[in-house]
């Protein structure tokens, strides 16, 4: 009885969700097709859909997408290697943890986007300043989670392994790493997400190429339908990448 009622209420929730999305799209269509709304401010959804198909079919997004993904890959690789290494070194001593963890957490609370003008001054408008910003932003969650992962392994496991005569390598491989791994993974996922966001953001603010840059140039060229299409494309790419990374995290956690 309650199972059936539960299912019915779940169906009603789905209906509300679909209805909400449908009514937003419908209102958008009606407002642009029959209302007096400036086309520059809000393009017709049908036009946006055609533009999106055109963008996807022509493949003109490829150069910008390649720039953005390369920046992301380089930034994430640097912050992974440096974050995990530095985090591991700090985590080896309780004293270093007490000195550096509050320091790093304090830096982390500064909006790192403020460094962008500085990086543009140092590295120019090209991909280097985006890589630097993405690295800076993603370094903090990775290093903090690595410290948390390696630094707070239950003492009893370490004592037990030592008393059973584990070597340093065995200790790392069979005690420290399995205990720290899930926490580090979370840090890596957060780092990936913020690196992606900051790279898109810095491309939007000051750059020569990339998806964020393309959206701005379409906005400045007053091509709203194509801009909406590109926004939808960039959002889809970001959601796809984040979903893949979350999936990888869940998978690695299980094994």
């Amino acid at each position: 009885m309650s199972g059936r009622r539960d299912r019915r209420s779940r169906l009603a929730s789905r209906a509300v969700q679909l209805g909400f999305v449908a009514s937003v799209v419908l209102a958008w269509y009606l407002a642009t097709a029959y209302g007096h709304i400036n086309r520059i401010l809000l393009p017709n959804p049908v036009n946006v859909w055609h533009e999106l198909k055109d963008v996807l079919a022509s493949g003109e997004y490829l150069p910008d997408l390649r720039v953005t993904l390369t920046e992301l890959a380089v930034a994430f690789a640097i912050s992974c290697i440096s974050g995990v290494t530095i985090g591991y070194i700090i985590s080896r001593s309780a004293f270093l943890i007490r000195v550096f963890e509050p320091l790093l957490a304090g830096f982390y609370s500064v909006p790192v986007i403020l460094f962008l003008p500085l990086y543009v001054l140092f590295f120019g408008l090209g991909p280097e300043s985006k890589i630097a910003l993405g690295t800076t932003i993603s370094f903090f969650p990775i290093v903090l989670n690595t410290i948390a992962g390696f630094g707070y392994v239950d003492k009893i496991f370490i004592t037990a392994a030592r008393s059973m005569g584990a070597s340093d390598i065995q200790m790392f491989r069979h005690v420290l790493l399995p205990a720290a791994f899930p926490v580090i993974l979370t840090g890596l996922r957060i780092g990936f997400t913020v690196a992606l966001l900051s790279i898109l953001g810095s491309e939007t603010i000051a750059s020569l190429a990339g998806l964020g840059h393309h959206i701005v140039s379409l906005a400045e060229a007053m091509e709203p339908a194509r801009m909406f299409a590109y926004i939808a494309f960039a959002v889809a790419i970001a959601v796809l990448l984040n979903t893949v990374v979350s999936g990888l995290e869940r998978r690695a956690r299980r094994t």
Partner: protein, 259 residues
């Protein structure tokens, strides 16, 4: 016991001194590097940054731009908290509501909002309204999600107990839900504050014809790193202060739950 050993023990018990020493060493490194190795077009030593703060505040428009940014942060934060609280409660207090609308809210939260920043400038212009609106879109979602989750986390036994003792809806809200919400509310405010800071600063930096963005671009193009670093430091100090206020509030008002 020899002398160095005693110092070592003292420092081991007081890591704050070592932390201070690390910060001082970094500042020193920056000072030396900027003075002797790196082109002064690109970086200024911290001493010169501090010395040029007066000149920075004397630059026409800079104090005004900082004041406007602070105002934008305050207004965006107030709007985010008000709307976030209302929506979070509306969604969180009904099972049906949360089941229906939470997926939509989480979907919107997951969108990289930076991609729609040009739209905000298009709709709201280059003045404060666009920056406030963009700050609100960043601040509102963490507040909604935290408050909705916090309201749902109330132990059912407390609700049942209140019901069975004959509490009406208002009494349940006042004596069960409200006290439980206070820690969640402040946790949401802290997350909302970092969101608002990010949104407002992104929009400020994006608009290069007015406000902070204009000055950062001007100082960059004039290769005036002392003023650029000064402006960034002032903004960073503002951000740290605001974050610290809401963090202290969270610790203060969240205490009763731990006891």
């Amino acid at each position: 016991m020899s002398e160095p050993h005693r110092y070592g023990r003292y420092l081991a018990r007081h890591p704050a001194w070592v932390r201070l020493a690390v910060i001082l060493a970094l500042l020193m490194l920056w000072e030396i590097a900027a003075r002797f190795w790196i082109d002064p077009m690109f970086i200024s030593p911290p001493s010169r940054v501090v010395a040029s703060l007066g000149e920075l505040f004397g630059t026409e428009g800079v104090p005004g731009a900082l004041r406007i940014t602070f105002g934008e942060l305050a207004v965006a934060f107030a709007i985010s908290v008000a709307i976030g609280l209302a929506v979070g409660l509306a969604v969180g207090l009904s099972r049906f509501g949360s089941r229906s609308f939470m997926p939509i809210i989480l979907l919107l939260y997951g969108i990289p909002q930076i991609t729609i920043l040009p739209l905000f400038i298009l709709y709201f212009g280059i003045g404060p309204p666009s920056k406030i609106a963009f700050g609100v879109t960043h601040g509102i979602f963490p507040i909604v999600v935290t408050i909705a989750a916090g309201v749902q986390n109330i132990k059912p036994i407390l609700m049942t107990a209140a019901h069975s003792m004959g509490a009406n809806r208002w009494q349940i809200f006042r004596w069960v839900i409200f006290p439980h919400m206070i820690p969640t509310f402040f946790a949401g405010m802290r997350l909302g504050m970092s969101g608002v800071l990010l949104g407002v600063l992104l929009a400020e930096l994006y608009v290069s014809s007015a406000g902070i963005g204009y000055f950062t671009q001007m100082f960059t193009q004039a290769f005036d790193p002392a003023k650029l670093l000064g402006l960034i430091s002032v903004l960073a100090a503002m951000a740290i202060a605001l974050n610290e206020i809401v963090r202290r509030a969270e610790i203060h008002f969240g205490r009763w739950r731990m006891e």
